[in-house]
């Protein structure tokens, strides 16, 4: 019955915007043997990707950290919470991969001595979608920080987390309030005033001039409307033009997608973006097949990097591209950090779910470990935040470089193309200039008019 209670939320759920990419990504059958061996060796040596000594018992001079320097911090322990919505009645297991990654990471980290001798005690903060406030109340009672998690309604605590001095290094943030909250450092920044636009630039190479005919469709909820506003402003800044903008009803959901397709066709949309859940694009693209109309480019966010979407909607997904700053799992053999994540999961939490958000959470844990170690015996919430504000961060190589210190998103990105029931790295249109990524300073624009008050 509790499931029924929340019914109304049915699809208001995963509406994470541009760079916060929530997804259930494709699950590789097994870690490729060629990369498994070096990955194991790296993990056994306490390294992850290109980060050495992530967790260790003493610092370089042989000193352990000590002192009860904050709530949840003792000589021997640091209590850290990971918030997810995995216990949600409606979307069972939502963001579960983040908690699974947290279990694997902390187990591995403690095996190597923890944070300078202090073991990480992981608290499971399950916000169950509608109980974010409760999760934060619990954390304010016992935890030093929130690390590597994320929740859909992440400003429902009314600022309680900041008031009680809870440092936050999240996997992702969604609401405008959480995107600019104090005491927070985002390893993969998703600020309200800066937007990565590398994907739009790439459109020019796929279909020259198409940005002059941009159309956008989004759900009628504030989180996605905010993303839409940012994107529309960015299109203007790039010299493009919006020819079509509409909203679909998130709840209970659209029963007829065809009129949207017809509208788009009549307005001559050539670049199309859907901000919302994959099931909506599935319905829309099925009608595009019937109507015989497809925009030159359909661009979507990382939340479409999801094996469920590929299996259910891949067949109808023509000209569909996903932009991401993460190294795709498909290319795990070419990237040490991705192989390390898979090895970490298979060894320390073999039943855990492997997905894009788990990688994002792991990046947060790596940043936490580095910052907490740097604070040593002066580990306070403020110190953690200060030390986490580095100017360049790749999560050991899990993703392109971001700037958590300036809360600025990555100037790099790549495109994946939906090809039948799988995703392929689109080398031609990504135009990589740094490894697999395309990087340029003008891949990020500064927003003004669409910034919420």
């Amino acid at each position: 019955m509790t499931r029924l209670r929340g019914l109304a939320l049915a699809s208001v759920l995963v509406l994470l915007g541009a760079s916060c990419g929530r997804s259930d990504s494709p699950q590789p059958a097994a870690v490729a043997s060629s990369s498994a061996a070096p990955a194991e060796a790296r993990l056994d040596g306490g390294s992850f990707g290109d980060l050495a000594n992530v967790c260790r018992a003493t610092d370089a001079s042989g000193q352990k950290a000590s002192g009860a320097t904050g709530r949840g911090v003792t000589d021997t322990e640091i209590h850290v919470g990971t918030v997810t919505d995995k216990g949600s009645d409606i979307k069972a297991g939502l963001n579960k991969e983040m908690f699974d990654a947290a279990v694997a990471f902390t187990t591995w980290c403690n095996l190597h001595g923890g944070i300078l001798g202090r073991k990480i005690v992981l608290d499971d903060l399950d916000a169950k979608l509608l109980q974010y406030n409760d999760a934060i109340t619990a954390a304010c009672g016992s935890d030093f920080a929130l690390v590597g998690g994320g929740a859909v309604f992440d400003s429902d605590d009314n600022g309680q987390a900041v008031q009680c001095g809870l440092a936050n290094i999240p996997g992702f943030v969604t609401t405008a309030g959480a995107r600019r909250a104090d005491l927070t450092v985002q390893p993969v920044p998703n600020p309200v005033d800066k937007l990565p636009v590398g994907g739009y630039r790439a459109v020019d190479s796929i279909s020259p001039g198409a940005l002059q005919h941009y159309g956008v469709l989004t759900g009628n909820v504030p989180t996605t409307q905010q993303v839409r506003d940012s994107n529309v402003e960015a299109i203007g800044l790039l010299g493009g033009a919006v020819v079509y903008s509409a909203e679909y009803t998130v709840f209970p959901g659209e029963t007829q997608w065809r009129p949207f397709v017809d509208d788009m066709k009549n307005k001559g949309v050539r670049v199309f973006e859907l901000i919302g859940e994959p099931t909506n694009l599935q319905g829309l693209q099925a009608e595009m097949v019937t109507a015989g109309f497809f925009p030159d480019v359909t661009l979507v966010n990382t939340n479409f990097y999801d094996s469920k979407y590929a299996a259910e909607g891949g067949a109808n997904a023509k000209n569909t591209y996903i932009r991401t700053i993460f190294f795709p799992l498909e290319l795990k053999d070419e990237n040490a950090a991705t192989a390390d994540y898979l090895s970490l999961m298979s060894r320390f939490n073999p039943s855990g779910k492997i997905a894009q958000l788990g990688i994002q959470g792991t990046s947060a844990w790596l940043l936490f470990a580095q910052a907490a170690s740097a604070c040593g015996s002066q580990l306070t919430a403020q110190c953690l935040i200060d030390k986490a504000k580095v100017s360049s961060w790749t999560g050991g190589g899990l993703h392109a470089a971001t700037n958590p210190g300036a809360n600025s998103p990555s100037t790099c990105g790549l495109l994946l193309k939906v090809d039948g029931n799988k995703f392929v790295y689109d080398d031609k249109d990504t135009k990589p200039n740094q490894g697999k990524f395309n990087c340029a300073d003008n891949n990020v624009v500064t927003l003004t008019s669409s910034v919420p008050h």
Partner: protein, 725 residues
Amino acid sequence: MQHFLLLTITGLCTAGVFAIAASGLVLTYTTTGIFNFAHGAIGMLGAFTYWQLHVEWGLPTWLAVALVLLVIAPSLGVVLELGIMRRLQDTSEAVQLVVSVSLLAAALNLGLLVWSPQEAHPITRFWEGSNVKILGVALSWHQTFSFLLAVAVAIGLRVLLYRTRAGVTMRAAVDDRPLAALNGARPDRSAMLAWAIGCSLAALAGILTAPELGLQHLFLTLLIVNAYAAAMIGRLRSLSLTFLGAMILGLADAYGQGYLPKGNDYVIGFRSAIPVVILFVVLLALPQSRLRGHVSARSREWFPSPTYSGSLTAAALLLAGVAVVATLVTDADALQLTRLFAFAIIALSLVPLVGYGGQISLCQMSFAGIGAIVMAHNGAAGQPATLALVAVVCGVVGAVIALPALRLSGIHLALATGAFAVILDRWIFNLPSFNIGAVRVGFFDQGTVPVHRLHVPGIEPTSERAELVVVAALFCVLALLVVGVRRSRYGERLLAMRDSPAACATLGMGLTATKLAVFALSAAIAGVGGAVYGGALGTVGANRFTFFDSLPLLLLTVVGGIGSIGGAVFAGLVLYGIPLVANSWSDLDIPVRSLPGLRDVGDLLALTPGLMGIGLGRNPNGVVRDVAARFDPALKHPAVFGGLGVALALLVGAVETDTIGGWWFGTLAIVAIFATPLVAQLVGAGGGRSHDTDVPLEWLGIDRPFTAADVRAIDAVVALPDVTR
């Protein structure tokens, strides 16, 4: 013009699916008198079963469809009729409604357990890829086929009902069931057939929709709400009008989609509310239903009138218990218990309305939502005075809603209030704030709003435990108010209205004022409950107060016992008490994880209310009365009852002196309370009820002359007061 054509044609195709679903709904309602809220959930199960057979197990399309439509779905219908619906004869419409809502919950949970929403369920349309052009509009064969099928279903049903013997029997059973039975028809068989066909049509609608819009559990389940309006245009009787209704609905949906502005925050929500707006309007346009005259004569439901002394004692005991518990629990648990009582207040609002007055409402959570909004925007300091404002605003809204709904009763009233709730949660609650003159009307600010807790002067406002006691006290006060209503002359009028509206009207009693007042009272209580519920949750949005939150509210209260305060407490207990217990049990690691699809005890418990509701047909008076009856012998045996008191006092003493922990206290207290009836039985309490004559009762006065003792024994057996004194 081309756009208009396209909208018309696609609208008609959608309408086809609505028509199929709505015909199934109408068929079961006309034949059995039960409005099946689970129709959509059954369609969802049908669609997933088709997926399982066709996609997962590789059966050919025709075979999979035939198996689902001709074997599996009809069997399900027969099982439902035999196992559940047949037992609902002589129960109130509230109970019948709750049983089908329980079925909805159970079917939905079953679907989620068997076909995990995390996994991919790819499904293609019939004849994927082949199109047909109609008036220049490209359509898939699947859509065209859906429409043609709807026409075929409409014709087929018409033939069945008017040209076949089975159909004539069905119609006869609808017109006059006893008369049909007297003439040799078998109404039970007709009902079984109707359920079989109904389930089959639901499954067909599901199978046709799933490839278009995806195999999504909730969406498929709820889509059917749109079909309610079509069924209502057919007045739940006429299949041809239902078909017409579905066409109107499909077209309204399409034109709304095509012509209403798509970027306007005020309008966007209205679009999805169009089907329920139509439903609401149609209900208001219905001719006045005949006043029922013989409801209670057939009803098996009966609730005793509570006494003031008993109610006061119960309230005092409850408050004392809460005060003790408040000192024992953690802050988080205190918060959870506060929600229990806040929710119980909302449930309490149903007791006068449904339990006493017999008026079904499916919008109590909407009133609660309005209460929370008023509290959020006006109660920044949590002043108790704001509750008065909440009560007034909600009371007025309640009366305004009751006004157009006055002429309705039973399932029509339920659907009208349900439509109102859906209009609120899909549209009104999501509007941005606006000004009417100098008054700012705000809702949930298109997201969530913080609600402040009640701040009673002299009581620490930040303490979760103090808040628990305050809300529990508020519940007791309102419960006593409801008891007062029940015992007043007004309460008698409510009962009279429930028992026989026709008799009331004949005697010159004004039903209008009685109905308006009970709606206003109920809405005011729900609003106050919503205000403190919001405070206990901290932050609330529209998603807490939807139509689909009102369903479990009604379900749990009816399961608990809609005619008694205990039913309201039961609703709170199940929703917030069970999870608390489940949390402490999950630490014990009971190995339910080995069962497929279950994560922990909580999952198992989540299934129980639905199952309890389904069992209502057997015991329509609710769980609380059942349990209370077991305690009856103990109450009549002071020694045993006193013993319980001593045991509880000892336990409280032990826990206060830290001799035992809170967990042990809880467990032992529960054991002590539930052991009491057993103990009472062991020591022979209640034995005085059995007669002590030497001959069987029916032979008294025949085998030998009556004695005074015999008369007393007979009085005791038939529960009459002792007249021999």
